[in-house]
Symmetry: C2
Subunit: 355 residues, 2 copies
Amino acid sequence: MSRKDNGQSSNGKRARADEASVERPSVGSVTLSDVARLAGVGTTTVSRALNHPDQVAQKTLKKVNQAIELTGYVPNQIAGALASRRSHLIAAIIPSISNTVYAETIKHFSKILRDSGYQVLLGETDYLEDQEETLVRTVLSRKPDGIFFIGINHTAICRRQLLVANIPVVETWDLTKTPLDMVVGFSHEEVGKAIAEYLLEKKISRVGSIWALDHRAQLRRKGFLETLAFHGINSKYVCDVSVPTNFGQGREGLTRLINEGFNGGAVVCSSDTIAHGVLAEAQTRGLRVPEEMAVTGFGDQTFAPFTNPSLTTVKFDRELIGRRAAEVLLARINDEKIEEYIIDVGFEIIERKST
Amino acid sequence: MSRKDNGQSSNGKRARADEASVERPSVGSVTLSDVARLAGVGTTTVSRALNHPDQVAQKTLKKVNQAIELTGYVPNQIAGALASRRSHLIAAIIPSISNTVYAETIKHFSKILRDSGYQVLLGETDYLEDQEETLVRTVLSRKPDGIFFIGINHTAICRRQLLVANIPVVETWDLTKTPLDMVVGFSHEEVGKAIAEYLLEKKISRVGSIWALDHRAQLRRKGFLETLAFHGINSKYVCDVSVPTNFGQGREGLTRLINEGFNGGAVVCSSDTIAHGVLAEAQTRGLRVPEEMAVTGFGDQTFAPFTNPSLTTVKFDRELIGRRAAEVLLARINDEKIEEYIIDVGFEIIERKST
DNA sequence: TCCAAAAATGGTAGCGCTTCCATAAATTTT
DNA sequence: AAAATTTATGGAAGCGCTACCATTTTTGGA
């Protein structure tokens, strides 16, 4: 049961290893030089057979592979990373893993990297800025070859740590003129603006809105309210809710708006989850959607087409963000030319029955 | 822009480093011995100051910490791991990151481990067994100090790899008499049985069911159908759907059952997501729930109380599974005594309006 | 005050791999 | 057939840290 049972046993280098054939590999940790001895080649050759097989003669390659097979050798990437100064690890800093929308981006981000021999080390900030600082420090001590962020807001210390680390960085889900390195996302202010314009087109001017206390949601809020104001509408029914957002906050949010005097028109929500709750609360209160009250969400989550009525929302390609982020990161790691350091993936309003 | 700009610059060991004070640390990679020289102590002492501060004199500790501060030293965990044979890395193998239910377990699992200085390396199998094999091999080459699985089904090769690796393993979300090492979960057959008994108690005997093609769902299916059979009910309306499950499959599933002649009673679903779809499809078809058709789900996801009507489902504590798994893993890593190698966290049926 | 025990510190040898360089083998060229 | 290339290989020096052990310093009792 002790984890040290046989940790050392393999290093009693066998006396006459050149008599390969029948030896039982000592369990625990076969090393590269065990394989080399068995194959009757140098360690360098085994290393090459593993990492640059094209530089090794066919015959030798076969011998080495046999030895690997026979011993059940598993390379020690830690040693490899130390020697080569390449960890083949990418750090991803995200607000929360249990929020599907982030998970979808990460899923595709990881997939592409995995196919290129990289693994992703996940760190959650739980939406806290100072948590991010600690996290980044921890993660940097693993010497990742690159780092991925959801969001573009980092403390000064955090930015400095990243600068010193001198590794490729990709920020996502938002846009900025001054990325740490590269950024893949879309403009949240534009989203807010687009929603406002969409409602204006529909001649809806009594508007309430519910926003998560989250950088990006607040940017959308800003774009939204400013656009309304620009068109002479001063929406006073605005309500903020904490992150992570949930269904209940939608119900509560609508209740608060109504208590403040809001009485129909449109409710704009900073997430589909909130909108879902608003829809439910509306139904409970006998408010007909969209006739008496239109509702919009954000994110086009899988349930959005299936709410009752189906939800008008803002769609953006989470998979694409993940993919593009992985691609540019890989390009930078491999010292390839990058076309664009700022990549806008855009968004669109999906009109359904709730408006 | 090149990542090699200054990778090496720090190693020109400064000639007279004992004149500490004003030197600007060379950017790129300050090493432990840089810190040691600046602090005027040996490398061993710096290492100890970092890892066992209680074994270092207060005065020395202060000098070292100042030097660390001054240089902006970030320990290289890769080197540390190689030397100490402790990676402080835990691998977690899960079917899919974008499935919230798994994410919740991982979230709490990670949290506890992070608090103990471990980081979690995530691997997704996409529900494929052979994918798991590759993944496990890859992940083992990072020399994790422990490994976490969702599920208890592993190929023979996979089991052998784990055995050879000789590290603590915790399997979760299911139960078995013969865990690889430790297991934290509940019996899915019992869940199936419990649902069947619940329906029988309600005198419902016309039953259809929709099951995901997933080990655990199939176990529930087995328990469910066997229990019904035991009570003389032979349910022929059974339908399997692919993983990952989604809303649409619920709609489709109910449609299929109805096309096969199913005409009300109860529909048992292997996930809340499917049940949600069934609910929607029932509404579309004008089937009243629960009067004409009862519906049950599994998982008690956040939306379950808010469907229309609210969903009767099976609840189990995903957070608890994550927490307990982390605890037993840590205990094993630290060579502590483990009370139980098989931990049953149980489940319960949550009755709502859909039945 | 002196000596034994305890506490603090440092030198050094790896951890298992990759990389540099040199050498050896195979191939081509003249 | 010898010289000039090209292709394969291996030795050895680290990568940056920790752990072992030995040594030095401090503490406390007789």
